[in-house]
Symmetry: C2
Subunit: 281 residues, 2 copies
């Protein structure tokens, strides 16, 4: 199959690598000549260029730009496509993307592969990034079933676990397990840095070990990505954050009134809860 990729970063580059290994012919488009050349040198694409007309022969095109650029990219891409081309995206928010893109292109399949790393550039691309990872596909009533099937087959060929859901259900679930953790983790880092005693802060930095490293990872990640989550999934994220404030207040109240039985029950509940997230049925 001829597959196009617009946006050659971590996700676009990793997709290209795997899809090429699977025998597809990969055409990449990036804003800069330099990135196109790197993609060719790395072997993640068969050909790459800055002009979208490179994708005229593509049967499927993955839009792997930042969320804000998805709809504008589709608009620019349309004049170059054949009517049967399937478009799909990899944005971490789906409702706002579907609202903007579905009216532009009938054959659009909204998608979200849940694979990420701290680094977001092409140089961080790796093979088998999607193997074993969740891959959400969020069609709406007007999405052609044949197009959904094609994207799903590609996702499965990458080794991903495919889940189908409504865009709004996706965005609510993602607010819990991806966007809320970023804000919770960032707030913890910000609170640590507010310590007024320099000796305490320095010691905290020296003593920080694996627990702190894990908890702070997503809050110390790419700032632009964090802003995009908040901007494009704002109402769901705020809903999760307000519920989180209630949970936090409850825990603080237990410590304030020294209700150790209640605190232990809460921590037993969260210990059991975590297992359900890491080995879902």
């Amino acid at each position: 199959m001829n597959i196009g990729i617009v946006g050659l970063g971590l996700i676009g580059g990793s997709l290209g690598w795997d899809l090429r290994s699977l025998g597809h012919k990969i055409f990449g488009v990036s804003r800069t000549e330099q990135t196109c050349q790197t993609a060719i040198d790395m072997g993640v694409v068969d050909d790459a260029g800055v002009n979208l007309n490179l994708l005229a022969q593509a049967e499927v095109v993955f839009i792997c730009t930042p969320i804000a650029a998805i709809a504008p990219t589709v608009e620019q891409l349309i004049p170059h496509l054949s009517p049967t081309t399937i478009l799909t995206d990899v944005g971490s928010v789906k409702q706002s993307v579907v609202e903007a893109v579905a009216p532009l292109w009938y054959n659009f399949v909204p998608g979200h592969p849940m694979a990420g790393k701290a680094e977001s550039k092409l140089e961080a691309a790796q093979q088998n990034l999607f193997a074993g990872a969740p891959y959400a596909i969020t069609p709406i009533e007007t999405t052609p079933p044949e197009a959904v099937k094609t994207v799903e087959e590609i996702a499965r060929a990458l080794g991903a676990r495919v889940y189908h859901c409504r865009p709004e259900v996706h965005d609510r679930a993602i607010s819990w397990i991806s966007h809320l953790p970023v804000m919770v983790s960032a707030s913890a880092l910000a609170a640590c840095m507010s310590e007024p005693d320099a000796a305490v802060l320095k010691l905290a930095q020296q003593l920080a070990s694996s627990g702190f490293r894990d908890t702070s990872r997503v809050g110390g990640g790419n700032p632009e990505l964090g802003v995009m989550m908040a901007k494009y999934n704002r109402s769901e994220l705020l809903r999760a954050l307000h519920q989180y404030q209630l949970s936090l207040n409850q825990l603080i109240a237990q410590i304030e009134r020294e209700d150790w039985d209640a605190l232990e029950q809460l921590l037993q509940h969260t210990q059991q809860a975590r297992r359900k997230f890491l080995s879902p049925s």
Copy 2:
């Protein structure tokens, strides 16, 4: 050197293993015969038993019990010790331990090796657990410098990075980098579980990937340990939690008023801050 260890769990067992490899003779005491036998079979001690009089010949004794048992253990141990024996502990809170134990035994060196795992039992013990890990030693005015030097030399021989500080400075620093993250992470898990829509919750569990796994790890850990942190470091933890509420409220307000510039600045700040914790000067 003859070294005693009271409490043969993850920390006590791992300490025994490394110290034995370094040529010391290790005597272990546990509440149960079964654990003593396991410790002997694993090779983490030279001898082990349930009676504290086994430690009569020890020059240094590590108290590796849960925090609540440290002072009662010292009280029971004292009749069996020679006056020159150095006692040290591994509790994650220091101020309350020092207040309880220093009046009981002159030669007491408060300590806290920062090495942990999800599992806390003897079976989880491993060699080189302390290599490269921080090890806080928190002497007070009356702590004999010779005793501090002996414990520090042992910690360095384990490969740990040793830091000296006041007990209250330790407890404040630890509230930021260890105890606050547990409560923040547990609250996030509790909030997720409050989602009323079963389909959303199930999808959240299916889509949870590495970011969620890392952020939820310490909040899904040992409930008894979480309660001990809150109970024995209550005032410092509450101070950190209240400051955290302010940081969280600020971030939520930025999202509410769609102040994306302020949010990006905040996330840039936390991204830079994290590096200071993971590669301290």
